[in-house]
């Protein structure tokens, strides 16, 4: 019950005793975070392999005969959907949200632990349903991750028999899981902060996760509505989205639905989804940069307001994904304007990250490398977004490799850089061991340089006019031979980046086994999770007494102080501790 989350206690209340209670049907937010994280990384690796298959086909067309056009489109679709929903959303909110919110807010757990546990298991069901589509007749859907009707449902599209049904069912199940988790995250932040933890003393990681969760709770219903209506179109012949048309020479049973309606619903979810992924990354990277630059975050209040402003604006930009679908020109103008306005709070954040680093005592350890790497990739991805946000520039660039380069830089590589930085940063708290430095650096440089080698050339391919979603290009006049050579190089870089992820996995397991003991606060950080009595924190997090917070989360290098950091729960001089 809710009171468990924030009560002081002098005995172990409802602590799990059996293996099953502790590690399987666990209601402990930290175990649930690890469960979420493990499943998300597992499906993420599957999506990574799928992307390699795609790249092998594009780089060396005709060489790998097992990659048929049919399979190619299945790989494209599953790669996209898994990465966006089942990896990034699940890992940031289900993984880091679960781990960090109670620890950073000074709570013992989430306010509804049972529902939190259910959230993970329902998420697992959604993943199983999704992956089962690889084994049904016709395979998974190959309609592209946007699942646009009418082709998604029509014969001839891969997976139009069962694949699409399982995909839509899986998404609906995922949304149920997310809602259960999301209710917990929001309510815990609002209700279970320890004494002294005002909203404006919360670390930016919590702010990012908090606002992203609100976005998710309001935006995922759009995907649910779209999924339910498309399921009905597919299964019982309604015509919400399916127009009257001829399919394979025969009249389809549909009577004139609106495919554009699906696009509106999908992108009303789809664009906030970008920020559902990005806002936690913004928050976490702020904490990483501040901690490892030994400086307070520059412009904390502006950072909070920027997170809120970005969250609000993200609901009024969706149709910039639909410029080529045809719309009233005034709408195009409106959505281009809102899209450019959202760049303002985003730019504020970028400036503040750079100014946080300015004249800082930079500790160039692995988390900081990834955090600084994020600033580079995000600025690149963000700037190309300005091109695509303008209607007139978007039209020729739409559906080219420029778009692939843009969105992978801004919402693929950038959040993943933060994810890795965060994993390295909190690995010592999670396991009590330090990650291996050499393997970590190798992982960073291979990933950072490798992803640039993949995505930067794609912008040039896009400007050449090379269309995306093609299985093979053949001999086409407007695509010069050099473009094919670039594609080969991109594929080789992709293989290098994929190999780097093996280095990461080796590092995780090796450090778990032989890592140096971390101690309770190896990064000398101020936030509450580093002040737990035990490392890794035990069930209930805080021992008999909850922490009391006396200051904000960014007291680094305060002039006149002995240490270059002051934990949030350290009383000011002359005060007695209330904890």
């Amino acid at each position: 019950m809710a009171y468990v989350a924030i009560a002081d206690r002098d005995h172990h209340l409802h602590d799990p005793t059996t293996f099953i209670e502790k590690y399987v049907w666990s209601q402990d937010h930290k175990v649930i975070a690890i469960q979420y994280g493990s499943v998300a990384i597992f499906v993420g690796l599957i999506a990574l392999v799928l992307s390699l298959m795609m790249r092998l086909q594009i780089g060396f067309p005709g060489t790998f005969t097992f990659i048929t056009p049919y399979k190619y489109y299945e790989f494209v679709t599953m790669h996209g959907m898994i990465m966006v929903i089942y990896l990034l959303t699940a890992l940031f909110l289900g993984g880091f949200g679960n781990y960090l919110i109670p620890l950073m807010c000074g709570a013992r757990d989430m306010v509804f632990p049972y529902m939190n546990m259910l959230s993970f298991w329902v998420y697992l069901v959604s993943v199983i349903v999704l992956l089962s589509s690889f084994f049904v007749p016709g395979g998974p859907t190959g309609a592209g991750w946007t699942l646009y009707p009418p082709q998604t449902v029509l014969e001839g599209t891969p997976g139009s028999q069962w694949g699409i049904v399982l995909m839509l069912a899986s998404l609906a199940i995922f949304i149920v899981a997310f809602t259960m988790g999301g209710l917990n995250y929001v309510t815990t932040v609002l209700q279970a902060r320890c004494r002294g933890m005002t909203l404006m003393r919360m670390p930016l990681s919590v702010w990012g996760i908090f606002v992203a969760t609100i976005l998710g709770l309001l935006a995922f219903p759009a995907l649910l509505v779209a999924a339910i209506m498309m399921l009905l179109d597919r299964l019982i012949g309604t015509s919400f989205f399916m127009p009257a048309l001829l399919s394979l020479g025969e009249q389809s049973g549909h009577e004139g639905g609106s495919p554009i309606l699906f696009q509106h619903l999908f992108w009303f979810f789809g664009h906030p989804e970008v920020y559902i992924v990005a806002l936690p990354a913004f928050g976490i990277v702020s904490d990483l940069l501040s901690t490892h630059a030994r400086k307070n975050i520059f412009g904390y209040r502006m950072m909070v307001w920027a997170i809120i402003a970005i969250g609000a604006l993200s609901f009024v930009v969706w149709a910039h994904h639909m410029y080529v679908s045809g719309m009233n020109p005034y709408f195009g103008f409106f959505f281009a304007t809102t899209t450019l306005i959202i760049a303002v709070p985003t730019a504020i954040k970028v400036y503040n990250w750079v100014l946080t680093l300015w004249r800082g005592d930079l500790q160039m350890n692995i988390p900081n490398l990834f955090a600084i790497g994020f600033i580079f990739t995000f600025v690149h991805g963000g700037l190309t977004g300005l091109f695509l946000g303008n209607v007139t520039v978007d039209l020729p660039l739409s559906d080219t490799y420029f778009v692939i380069g843009h969105f992978h830089m801004v919402m693929g590589v950038s959040p993943v850089m933060v994810l890795f930085g965060a994993i390295y940063h909190w690995f010592p708290k999670l396991t009590g061991k330090m990650p291996n430095e050499i393997l970590g650096r190798l992982h960073f440089w291979m990933t950072f340089l490798g992803t640039y080698a993949i995505y930067l050339p794609m912008h040039y391919l896009g400007i050449l006019g090379m269309p995306r979603r093609y299985y093979a290009y053949g001999q086409t006049d407007f695509i010069p031979g050099s473009a094919h050579a670039v594609n080969e190089a991109i594929t080789i870089a992709a293989i290098v980046v994929a190999t780097a992820q093996v280095v990461f996995l080796i590092n995780v397991f090796y450090s778990l086994w032989k890592g140096k003991p971390a101690g309770s606060n190896p990064w000398r950080a101020t936030t509450l999770e580093w002040q737990t009595p035990q490392t890794p924190p035990v069930h209930g997090n805080w021992g008999p007494k909850l922490p009391v917070v006396y200051r904000w989360a960014y007291d680094y290098s305060v002039p006149g102080e002995k240490d270059d950091f002051i934990p949030q729960n350290e009383p000011p001089k002359g005060h007695h501790s209330l904890g």
């Binding site: 924030i6 609100i214 209506m229 919400f240 609106s258 904000w552």
Partner: protein, 229 residues
């Protein structure tokens, strides 16, 4: 997308208003102040959780309504398959039943607040029975429409009618599950419960009441939407 945008905007304004109270703080200038009291917070967590859930539910129905209106707009334009329904008059009776259920829930709540647990039992049960009657009535409305025979899944007006009423009904069923759990605790005997047990029952009844009122509002909105076409 207008209703959805409206809901998003309303939520944003509410969140803004709540946050503005606290976001003026300059955290780097203040140290040592302990402004929150942990003893008072936890009791309202389930209530906050429910409000957040109601925001999700509203977003869901708002988006359904947006889809309905956009599809209807298309029907007036290029897509002609929309054939307006002749809604069964039974829906009016169902609406009255749901209003009564909501009213019964409100009286149950006031009885619980007064520690009148006999009254609570009576009105709580009444609200449950009326809600079941509403759901049965909705199914009968489907049967009536079906018997009319003129509508198939290809008519979006008919498909939307079934979809919206079914989604609303499912939310009511979810509410009935919670109501059933609370009712079973009430029936097992409130006299044996201590102060904390009683206050929990009171809170459950409060939350059920809020949920019922909210779903009544949602239904009134949906009903108006269905009738307007």
């Amino acid at each position: 997308m207008l209703p959805a945008m409206l809901i998003a905007m309303l939520t944003a304004i509410t969140v803004w208003w709540l946050l503005i109270q606290q976001l003026k703080e300059k955290p780097w200038t203040k140290q040592g102040v302990v402004p929150t009291s942990q003893e008072t917070i936890w009791t309202s967590a389930p209530k906050v959780g429910l409000w957040v859930f109601l925001a999700v539910v509203s977003s869901l129905f708002g988006l359904f309504a947006s889809a309905y209106m956009m599809r209807l707009h298309d029907a007036h334009g290029s897509l002609k398959s929309w054939q307006p329904l002749d809604e069964p008059s039974l829906l009016w009776i169902n609406t009255v039943i749901l209003v009564l259920a909501s009213g019964a829930m409100q009286i149950a709540r006031t009885r619980a607040d007064r520690d009148d647990f006999d009254g609570l039992r009576r009105y709580f049960t009444g609200a449950g029975v009326l809600t079941v009657a509403f759901l049965v009535g909705q199914v009968l409305a489907w049967v009536q429409l079906n018997a009319a025979g003129a509508y198939g899944p290809g008519n979006p007006a008919y498909a939307f009618f079934i979809l919206l009423t079914a989604t609303h009904g499912l939310h009511m069923v979810g509410g009935l599950v919670v109501l059933g759990r609370t009712a079973s605790r009430v029936w097992r005997g409130v006299a044996k419960l201590n102060v904390v047990g009683r206050s929990r029952i009171r809170q459950s009844v409060q939350l059920c009441t809020l949920y019922w009122h909210w779903l009544l509002l949602v239904w009134l909105g949906l009903f108006a939407l269905l009738l307007s076409t």
